[in-house]
Every structure is written in structure tokens, then in C-alpha cells.
Subunit: 110 residues, 2 copies
DNA sequence: ATATAATACTATACGCCGTATAATATTATT
DNA sequence: AATAATATTATACGGCGTATAGTATTATAT
């Protein structure tokens, strides 16, 4: 997927994944990868940003003798998903315009 | 609209507007503004990029005693819109995931 | 036993692109 | 005479996805 198109989508995607329960970096990478290509160097900064924005909290738990960082979505984070969905209405309006313009263009060739 | 969400959308939007006929900077700004907020400092670089990519061509015509730059979409540009629409399928898949995850989350509170 | 893969996270430098701000110049309107 | 509308360009900034690379532990395969 084109890098430009990921912008704004990624954070909402990560937050949505956390809705079904706390998770950690490595697992999140696998889960996000099922939806779009992602590298560690993209995901971890996203997690840092979401934490700084109070949209998720971080805590450590021991796992196989090591500390693993778990990420939990906050109420703030849930509200952020709603904001995203609302913003997306505008995006979809533009997309619909492009689609319509393209369809009309095709018709002029008939 | 959030700046991140415009990325990738803007170029396709401008190209789509040119499908119905050649246009010029000032008019394009008005037309794009109807779909999303845009400033000159965003649009003109977009036009330069599209020109560099061979997706539009530029020519000058006199208008009210002054030269005005007109922009015309190329076949390359039309193909780019199609590429955009195809890429957008991936974007929509992620959006649908977020929407579904949010709906499920709401259900757990019922 | 040891090499390899999987797990788990961090750091740095780069490049794209939307934005604010500002400058320039002409024509139309009040 | 002043102001708004028309029309375009330049510069510096900041957000963020990416490539690349480094570090460290545990499980699996040969």
C-alpha cells in the first residue's frame, strides 16, 4: 500500500486492534500486517505517539522470564477512533467525487 | 480535514477535476475547496509534481491581457486515477476493519 | 552443540508533502 | 483612491512512514 495512504489510518488501526484486549509490539505487528504492510520502525513510533497523546497506556508484565510491554487503549483512545470515523466521512466524500468523475469520463467515450 | 488524510487524495482529486476539461490554478483552488480545505501553497506544488510525473501538461493562454497557465490531464494522468482507485480498495479494507472492530466493541457494552 | 528462526524492542537518517507566511502583480469594484 | 478578486511563486517547518541496522533472549532444527 502506498505510504501516503497509510497516514492517519495506522493509528486508528492500532487503536482498533486494542479494543479486543491489551497487546504488545510484536503481536501488533503481526496483526497489522494482515491488513497492510508495516515494519517495526513504523509501528513503535506510532505506539509512542499514541501513548504521548494519552490514547493508550503501557505496562510491563513478565513473560517467559522477560519483561514484555503491553499496550492498553484508554477512553481517550476510544474517543479518538470515533473522531477518526467522523473525519473519514469527509475523505469518503472526496473519494466518491473521484469515482463519479471517473465514471462520467468513461461515459463520454461511449 | 486532517492533513494526514489528504495525502494521496489530493493528487487524484486534482486529476479528476481535469477530466471535465482544462483548468488553471485559481479555479482549481476554488473547486478543490468545495471538497476539502486547500491553500495555494499546497495546490501549486501538487501541480508541479503531477507535471513532473507526466500526468498533466501545462500551456499558457492569454486571458484579459495576461498569460494564464492552463493544466490538461494526460493519458498517463488518467491511468494514475485508475491506480489510485485500485489502491483505495486496500484502504477501504482497513477502514472496514476499524468500523467492524468499533461496532463489536459497542456490542460488548450492551 | 550450534546454527537458525522467532520473539521483542530501539535508534538514526532520509524523504515526501501539507501548511503557514509572505511576496508580487494585475484587474474589477466601490 | 481603496479594496477585493484574480493569479502565481518562494521559503522554512513539521509530521510521519521507511530503510537500515543494532541489541538481546528463547525455541527449534540439524
Amino acid at each position: 500500500m502506498d505510504a501516503q495512504m497509510k497516514r492517519g489510518l495506522l493509528e486508528a488501526c492500532v487503536l482498533s486492534l486494542l479494543l479486543k484486549g491489551d497487546s504488545y509490539g510484536y503481536l501488533l505487528i503481526q496483526e497489522v500486517s494482515a491488513l497492510m504492510p508495516i515494519s517495526e520502525s513504523t509501528l513503535y513510533p506510532v505506539l509512542r505517539r499514541l501513548e504521548a497523546a494519552g490514547q493508550l497506556t503501557v505496562y510491563s508484565r513478565e513473560h517467559n522470564g522477560r519483561l514484555r510491554k503491553y499496550y492498553a487503549i484508554t477512553e481517550n483512545g476510544k474517543a479518538q477512533i470515533q473522531s477518526f470515523l467522523k473525519e473519514w466521512e469527509d475523505v469518503n466524500r472526496v473519494y466518491t467525487f473521484i469515482l463519479t468523475a471517473t465514471t462520467k469520463e468513461e461515459n463520454t467515450h461511449e
